[in-house]
Symmetry: C2
Subunit: 649 residues, 2 copies
C-alpha cells in the first residue's frame, strides 16, 4: 500500500494515468479488436486461472466464479488501490457490515417489494428467462431476419431499447403479438412474473427470523448512520466507504464476470447537507474534461460531449459539484487501472430510468468486446434511505448543522386557548397540544388558512379527529431566532462493481505481439496493480544459479513485492512468454554472467527491452518502477542495454 506517491499528487493524472496512451486505439478500433479477440482472451483467462466457474468438478453453478491466484492477486491490488485512491486520499470512514440482513431492513429500503426482474418460464421443463433479456434477444433476431419489413424493424428497435422499462402486461402483449415462444422447446411462454433477486435464508434456530443476503452494501451504512455521524463528531459532510460482497439471484447469469450472483462491490455514501452540495476539492478537478453522454446526447443519438466539469456543473448538465467531483475521481481511478481513455464514458440515466427519489445519476461505462458496460454508478440518492429507515425503526436519523450566526426565521405560533380547548377535549387535550409541536410549518399554514377562511379545522391524530375552532386557536406568523437546523442528509453514492472492473482491466490489458517471430498474446496490466510484480528466471537448471535465484527472491520480497520463480527446464523465451501472459511487468534473469559478476538482466514486458543491472539493485529499482517513482526510460539511462528481445525471445 505504501508510496503510491505519484498517484496522490493532484492533478498529476496527466502523467501517470496516461502512461500508455501511445498504445491506445480509437473507440471503433478498440471494440473490433476486443470482439475479434474475445475467444483468445477467454482462453487465456481460463487457462492461466484468472478465474473459472466455481465448483467445476461438479459441473459448475452458473453465475458463480472463483478467482485463481493471478485473478485473486489482481483483485487485492485493485481493492488496495481503490482504498488508497478513495478512502485514504479522501479521508473516508470505512465500515464492514454483515451480509446476512434481517427482512425488516430490506422492507424499509424497498428491496423486499421492488428488487425484482420479470421472469418467464417454460412451464413444462421449468427453464426460466429474464423477460427483458429474452425480449432483446428476440427483437435482435427479428431485426436480423432479412424478410422483416423496415417498418417492423423500426418497431423492434424501439421495443429493444425500452425492454427494461416494460411492466408485465406490456411484456406479455409483445411476446404474444410477435409469437415469441420458449427457446429450444418452442412451447408457449408463461405470463411474466416478478422474481425477487434476493437470496433468502433463516437466521437462528427457530426458523422464524427471515433474512436475506444483502443485495448492496449501502444499507449497512445507512442503518449505522447515527453511529458514524457520532464517530465523525457530528460534522457534515462526510463519506463512508465499504468494500464487501453483494448477492443477486440472477435469473439467467451470463457474460462471465459481468453478470454474476455473488460479487464484490465498493460503495461510498457521501452524506451532505441537501442545501449545499458543493465539494471543497472541486477546484482540483474543475478543469478536467471527461466524456459525458448526457440525456440530450442519448435522445439525439449524438456522441458524448467533451466539456470541463466546471462547465458541466455550471450548465446544470451534472447536478452538483459533489457528483462531478466523484465522477472525476472515478475516471482517474479507472485510468490508473489501465482502462483505455477511448473506452470510458459517463452515461446519464434518462429521466424514466432513475428512481423517483434520485435527482441525477451517471454510470461510468467501459467499452468491452460485448459493447458498453456499466461498471460504476454515481447516484444522488437524496435522503430517501435515511427517511425510510427512520420511519421504519422509529429512530432519529437526522443531522444538525449549527449556523455560524443564529438566524431569524418566520414561524407560525398556534396560540392555543387552553381553557376553551381543555373544556372541549378533556383528557385528550394534552395529546392535541403535543401534536401542535410536531406539525410542520406547511401543516400549520394550512390550519391557519382553514381557521381564517372557514372558522374550523379537523385535526386527525391516529384514528381520532378533533374539530378545532376559531375560539380555540389563533395561528399567527411570528419570528424566532434559530441557531441550528436539523435535516436528513442527502446521500451521493458512487458504487463500484469490482468484478466488472477486473474483467474490464483484463480485456483492456490484452495485447498481441506482432514484432516477434511467433505472434503471441500477453497482458499489459499497470505495474501498480499487476498480480505478480516480477519473476525470477534462471537461464537453465544449472545448480550454480540457485543461490542467486534465492538471493533475488529475498531481495524482492524484502520490498513486499510479490514474485514468482520459474525454474522449469523450458527455454528462456518460453518463460518470458508465460510471464507475459499473466501480466508480470518485469522479469529478472540469472545467467552465466551473473555467476561471475553478480549482475542480472532486467526486462520490461511492454517494450521487451532489457538492461544489465547489479543483483543488489534489483529490489529497489523494481519497487520504484511499480510505484511510478521511476520510469523504464530512467532505468534505461542508468543501466546498459542488454541484447535485443528478438535474440533472446
Amino acid at each position: 500500500m505504501l508510496i503510491r506517491k505519484a498517484m496522490q499528487k493532484f492533478p498529476s493524472f496527466c502523467g501517470l494515468y496516461k502512461m500508455n496512451s501511445q498504445e491506445e486505439l480509437k473507440e471503433g478500433e478498440l471494440e473490433s479488436f476486443l470482439s475479434a479477440h474475445r475467444p483468445a482472451i477467454d482462453d487465456l483467462l481460463r487457462r492461466r486461472f484468472f478465474y473459472r466457474p466455481s465448483f467445476e468438478i461438479y459441473g459448475g453453478i452458473s453465475g458463480l466464479f472463483d478467482y485463481g491466484p493471478p485473478g485473486c492477486a489482481l483483485k487485492r491490488e485493485v481493492e488496495d488501490l481503490w482504498r488508497q485512491h478513495f478512502i485514504l486520499e479522501e479521508d473516508m470512514l470505512e465500515l464492514a457490515g454483515t451480509n446476512l440482513t434481517p427482512e425488516v431492513v430490506l422492507e424499509a429500503s424497498g428491496h423486499v417489494a421492488k428488487f425484482t426482474d420479470f421472469m418467464v418460464k417454460d412451464e413444462e421443463d421449468d427453464r426460466c428467462w429474464r423477460a427483458d433479456k429474452l425480449l432483446v434477444e428476440s427483437m435482435k433476431e427479428i431485426i436480423n431476419n432479412k424478410d422483416t419489413t423496415e417498418e417492423v424493424k423500426e418497431e423492434c428497435r424501439k421495443i429493444k431499447s425500452l425492454a427494461d422499462t416494460y411492466k408485465e402486461e406490456q411484456l406479455h402483449e409483445i411476446f404474444t403479438r410477435f409469437g415469441i415462444k420458449c427457446p429450444g422447446s418452442g412451447r408457449p411462454l408463461s405470463y411474466p412474473k416478478p422474481f425477487n433477486l434476493m437470496f433468502g435464508t433463516m437466521i437462528g434456530p427457530s426458523g422464524r427470523q427471515k433474512g436475506f443476503l444483502r443485495p448492496e452494501t449501502a444499507q449497512g451504512i445507512f442503518v449505522n448512520f447515527k453511529n458514524l455521524y457520532d464517530y465523525n463528531r457530528n460534522k457534515l459532510p462526510f463519506a463512508v466507504a465499504q468494500i464487501g460482497l453483494g448477492f443477486r439471484n440472477e435469473i439467467s447469469p451470463r457474460d462471465g464476470l459481468l453478470r454474476v450472483r455473488e460479487f464484490t462491490m465498493a460503495e461510498i455514501e457521501y452524506f451532505v447537507n441537501p442545501s449545499n452540495k458543493d465539494h471543497h476539492k472541486f477546484q482540483n478537478v474543475a478543469a478536467m474534461v471527461i466524456p459525458l453522454f448526457g440525456q440530450e446526447q442519448q435522445e439525439l443519438q449524438t456522441p458524448p460531449i467533451y466539456i470541463t466539469l466546471e462547465e458541466a456543473v455550471t450548465r446544470k448538465i451534472i447536478n452538483n459539484q459533489t457528483l462531478a467531483y466523484f465522477m472525476a475521481r472515478t475516471y482517474l481511478f479507472l485510468r490508473a487501472c489501465g482502462i483505455k481513455a477511448e473506452g470510458i464514458r459517463f452515461r446519464q440515466h434518462m429521466k424514466d430510468e432513475m428512481a423517483h427519489y434520485s435527482s441525477d445519476c451517471w454510470d461510468a461505462e467501459i467499452l468491452l468486446s460485448i459493447g458498453w458496460v456499466e461498471v460504476v454508478g454515481h447516484a444522488d440518492r437524496s435522503c430517501y434511505d435515511l427517511t425510510k429507515h427512520a420511519e421504519k425503526s422509529k429512530k432519529n436519523l437526522l443531522a444538525a448543522e449549527t449556523y455560524p450566526q443564529p438566524r431569524i426565521v418566520d414561524f407560525i405560533d398556534m396560540k392555543p386557548n387552553k381553557g376553551v380547548m381543555g373544556a372541549a377535549f378533556k383528557a385528550k387535550n394534552q395529546l392535541i397540544l403535543a401534536k401542535f409541536q410536531e406539525l410542520s410549518e406547511l401543516e400549520k399554514a394550512s390550519i391557519k388558512h382553514a381557521i381564517e377562511e372557514h372558522g374550523e379545522y379537523e385535526l386527525t391524530i391516529g384514528e381520532e379527529s378533533f374539530k378545532l375552532t376559531r375560539d380555540m386557536i389563533k395561528p399567527e406568523v411570528t419570528q424566532k431566532s434559530v441557531s441550528q437546523e436539523t435535516f436528513y442528509p442527502s446521500v451521493i453514492e458512487p458504487s463500484f462493481g469490482i468484478g466488472r472492473i477486473i474483467y474490464s482491466i483484463l480485456e483492456h490489458a490484452f495485447r498481441e505481439r506482432t514484432n516477434v517471430k511467433e505472434a503471441r498474446s500477453y497482458l499489459y496490466i499497470p505495474p501498480v496493480i499487476a498480480p505478480v510484480k516480477c519473476c525470477v528466471l534462471p537461464l537453465s537448471k544449472n545448480p550454480d544459479f540457485d543461490q542467486f535465484v534465492d538471493q533475488l527472491k529475498e531481495t524482492i520480497k524484502r520490498k513486499s513485492l510479490s514474485c514468482e520463480v520459474d525454474d522449469s527446464s523450458t527455454t528462456i523465451g518460453k518463460k518470458y512468454a508465460r510471464c507475459d501472459e499473466i501480466g508480470i511487468p518485469f522479469a529478472v534473469t540469472v545467467d552465466f554472467q551473473t555467476v561471475s559478476d553478480h549482475t542480472v538482466t532486467l526486462r520490461e514486458t511492454l517494450s521487451m527491452t532489457q538492461v544489465r543491472i547489479p543483483l543488489e539493485n534489483v529490489g529497489k529499482v523494481i519497487q520504484k518502477l511499480v510505484f511510478s517513482q521511476m520510469t523504464w526510460e530512467n532505468v534505461q539511462c542508468t543501466y546498459p542495454a542488454f541484447a535485443t528481445e528478438g535474440s533472446t525471445n
Copy 2:
C-alpha cells in the same frame, strides 16, 4: 503493505515480537486484570465504534456485528499483515472462492450430514439452547451450590469437561437425572435434536437448486485442487490460502465477536506428499520454544511444557515438521499482533476430540477475560477431503511425484490363465481382468493367500461375485521399475478466526494509565497494525495553525499512512486521551512554536514522551516507526525531548 522488513528477517522475532515484554503480566495476573476490566473494555469498544451489534436501530440480530471505522481499519491491517506473513513470506497461492455453495459439495465434505450441534427447546415459547452449552452452565450452577455434596460436584465436573462429546441419549439422560429445566420458564426441555449449522438458500429461479453459505473456506480450495496443482506446474508441496467469510447459524451466539454467525477466516491448505511431511524451512524455527499443552499435560492436569520444536517433533509430541513449522509461524504472527506471550498456548486435541481422519491437531489458544479461547486451529486433515470429492465428483484429484531415479518395487502379478477364465466367465471375463488392474497390493496379497491356502477366492465386483480357482490365477510376487507414484496429497491446515484474533488484540491492548493525574484507559496496539497511524492536533482553534495542519496531513498521507485530525475546541490533554483510546500510536501537535520555526511535537502513546521535530521530517519518521525500521529510543536520541507528559496531559 510495504517494507515490513524487520518482521521478515528470520528469526528476528526475539527483537520485534517481544517489544513490549517489559509490560507483560504473568498468566494469573493477566487473566484477573482482563476479567476485572471486561466492562471497561466493552464500554470502550462500543463507545468508540470498534464494533457494534448489526442493525442496532432495529434491535440488533444476535451473532452479527458491524465493524466501525477503527475496527474495520484494524481488521484490514491484520489481514494485510497475515497476507504478508503467510502468503508473501511463504510463497503461497491465494484463491477467492464463492460463499454460495451447492449442496453436493457439502454432502461430499460431510457437512450436510454432520455439521450439527444438539439443540434443546422450550416447546411452548420456541426458545432454543445449544445442549452442550446449557449442560455446562447447569453443571457450573450445581457445583457452585453450597449444598451440593463433594461426590456430586466431582461428577458434575466430569460431565462439564465432557459436555461436547455426548450424544443425544446421553444428554437427555443427564438433563433428566439432574432435573434440568428450561431457563426462565422452568418448563421441561425437549429431547435433544441435531441442528445443522449451515444457512440454507436456493440458487437460481427454479427453486430446486439447494445451496448453503459456506461454513469454512477450505472446501473452495479442495474443489479447485486440480486447477491449483496445474497452476503450480504439478509440483508438491504447495500451499493455498484464502481469506474470506464463513457462516454458522449458531443456536445461541454469545461472547461478542467470539461466537458469531458470520465471520472472516483465513485458511491455509498445505498439500504435501503423505510419505514426507518434513518442511524445508523447519530449521528456521527448530530452536523456538512455544508453550505446548499436549494430550499428556491435559490428562495429568499439569502446565504446558516448554521444549524446542526440534525436540517436540523428534519425540513425536507434534506429529510432523510441517505442523510444527506452521505453529511457530502462528506464534510469531500472534506476537506481532501484540498478543502477550503469557496469554498464548498451543493445546493439542485429545484423541476423542479429533476427527477420525485427523492424525494430529493443535489449537492456538489465547487467554482472555473469559478464559482460554481457541483462535487458530492447526490440523493434519490427511487426504480426507480430496478423496471424498474425488469419489463424489468422479474426477481424478491425485497428485503424482516422479522419483529422481526409477525405483524397483515388489508387486503381485495375478498371472491369469485367460483360456480357463474365459470359458468359465464368458462375457464377464473382461470385467474381471479389468478389476485385477485396480486391486491394491494388499488386496492382491489376500487373494494370493486364499488361493494358496484354500485353492479358491470369491471376488466381488459390484453386486456380483465370481469364484476364482487355482487353475485360473497363479498370483506371484515379482518386481517392476516404477518412475513415479500417484497419491492423494495430505493436507495440513492452519485455520485462523480473524474476528477472534481482533477481539484478542483489543483485550490484550487494553491498558490503564496510573502515572497521570486522572487514571484512564487506553489501547496499545502495535503500530504496524494500528487502525490509525497518527493524529494531527492543533493546540487550539487559532487559524494560524490551519496551513500547518494541512501540510502535515499531506506529508503523512504521502507515505500511505492513515491519519486523523482533531481540530475540535477541546484541550490538548483530552485530545491525546481520545487518540489513546482508539490505539493511535503517535500524535503530532501544532503549536505556537510551529508558526515561528516549523517544528512540531511528536508524542508516543505508550510512553507518553514527546520530542520536538521539524515538520518536514514527520512523515518519514512515523513511517519508519510504524514499520519497525526505527525505535522510539532512536527518535529520542535524534530529536530534543519536549516538556513532560504530566504537564501537557
